[in-house]
Symmetry: C2
Subunit: 337 residues, 2 copies
Amino acid sequence: MLNERKLAVLRAVVEDFVNTNEPVGSRALADRHPLGVSSATIRNDMVALEEDGYIAQPHTSAGRVPTDKGYRFFVDRLSSVKPLSAPERRAIESFLGGAVDLDEIVARTVRLLAQLTRQVAIVQYPSLTRSSVQHVELVPLGNQRIMMVVITDTGRVEQRVIDGLEAVSEHAVGDLRAMLNRAIAGCYLSDVPEMLDGLPAQVPPEHRGIAVSVLSVLLESLVDRHEEKIVLAGTANLAAVDFAASFRDVLEALEENMVLIRLLGEAKDPSMLTVSIGEENFHEGLRSTSVVSADYGVGNQSLAKIGVVGPTRMDYPGTMGAVRAVARYVGQILAGQ
Amino acid sequence: MLNERKLAVLRAVVEDFVNTNEPVGSRALADRHPLGVSSATIRNDMVALEEDGYIAQPHTSAGRVPTDKGYRFFVDRLSSVKPLSAPERRAIESFLGGAVDLDEIVARTVRLLAQLTRQVAIVQYPSLTRSSVQHVELVPLGNQRIMMVVITDTGRVEQRVIDGLEAVSEHAVGDLRAMLNRAIAGCYLSDVPEMLDGLPAQVPPEHRGIAVSVLSVLLESLVDRHEEKIVLAGTANLAAVDFAASFRDVLEALEENMVLIRLLGEAKDPSMLTVSIGEENFHEGLRSTSVVSADYGVGNQSLAKIGVVGPTRMDYPGTMGAVRAVARYVGQILAGQ
DNA sequence: AATTAGCACTGTGGACCAAGGAGTGCCAGG
DNA sequence: CCTGGCACTCCTTGGTCCACAGTGCTAATT
């Protein structure tokens, strides 16, 4: 049975442990928090909390430390997201505002988030699937190759060289470009395959081979590897922490793009903050870390995710506040582009 | 006076210390290396080497450790670059071969280099200054904005949105694009400013405002921030090492793009391997690391640099071999694109 | 003159131990 | 149901001791 006071004790344990990084004892709690009861009473509450699995002691005669379950409860029920201060908001705004292209927006975002949270920040490039085609450009390279550039409304540019063609004329390329743009400019990328379905039939037979090559590369470039682009910053912040798992394991996990993608991907509820704590993480090396992630996007379209990785012993309210704020600002910046 | 044998001793000290990471003593040397003299003689030589500053002992009654000066001498005079094995070469080739665009070439290169050397790899994107303009594309976005895309022959794509224009017609944009391409297609980027000098004068007055905006953005996009794009991999490999400087300092230095740029930039002799050892590095946090870097490029044009950062206690011949080999392959791949 | 064997000397690191202290669990009384 | 008190546990710290690895020096040898 968790009464009010026990919850207050749990909250205090989490907060103190996050601050000091040392097991917190009953006396220290009684001193630092206005719980209105003596340390003996707190000890009794702690026994109850320990029986329920919210806290644990590293060894007899040590203070208590929150378990993953304890953090989970803290995040779900005992804390609320802490909004950023006004100066912090202004700093975000001005820092992100100066970016000139998508690469720079992403780069600045990730550094910003790392700095705000003093942890490792992860930012995923906006997904192509939910953005639409702004323009397709075909540029002949010499005589037998074409470079294709797809520009999307989220500022992302996808490029491919199409190789091994029969000789192509400038003119034919121009026609094909016009035809392509007529067919798919403005479309969502996810609709592109459908829109291109009947296209080869409209191409004059002598250029059909080229058209088919171009289309196949175009379609291929739209599938799959878009969410793969992920940027990281702030790994140096990990050095301050000591993990149960070896430091190396954490770094290794963070270098695996697929791991990061899945890490962010686990966020259940779009447009909400998601927190994954310790053992909840699927990856071995990250069992002693927590991940706070959020969607960002334009309007109510989610484009991709951002997140923060830190020790389970992290300042959840603060981190959540920073992640949420940055996600919102990135969305605004992208919308304004 | 450094006679032959003393050099052999120095070489042996470096090699053994790199292998074992423990101060190497005279007995161990006499056992493991065919120097043909007793440990007492080696001790005498070591005293001489220590007086000259090539080796040092952490404390009395410990073995000797190479100093930065010792490593420097080893690299310059006592070792030669170790070529990669045939299977390694094949691995590089097939791994880099599968890349579809510049981003992926760079991403694969950096991972490859990190894996080969088991250290931190750095790859700089090909510089724009030495590449030439393949094509300039202008795409109207709505009515008052234009997206400009510059495609270079090294596969790099630079994009910018030009904002705050008076209303522009499709037609005017088309004219401007044609004019731009006529003026600068095929030019080296470094020559572009010159080529564009008289251009505004040729534009009909009613579109001159737009032309000027476009040109200023174009010129601006060509200056400066091109070498800034740098990619890193293998930081997890640092965890295995213990530095004199704190781990954190090293990671922090590596997250500063400007530091990396300068680090690579210090390479003196283009198209050669450069090694910067310990205290030779300008950055505080990197005083206990060494950097091996090399240029890569197409033909004999240097486009950018790649490098490896590791502990001063590194396998120089092997690392140098890997860096050189990878640099060459990247050049080839870029040439073939 | 260079090399070698022998030996005394010296810091380091690990094992062992004792004292100190933080924090607990439990009990008896308010 | 709360609290003060107390015995107990286990970690941490510091100190001592010893073994070890490796040195520097000297005297003998080639």
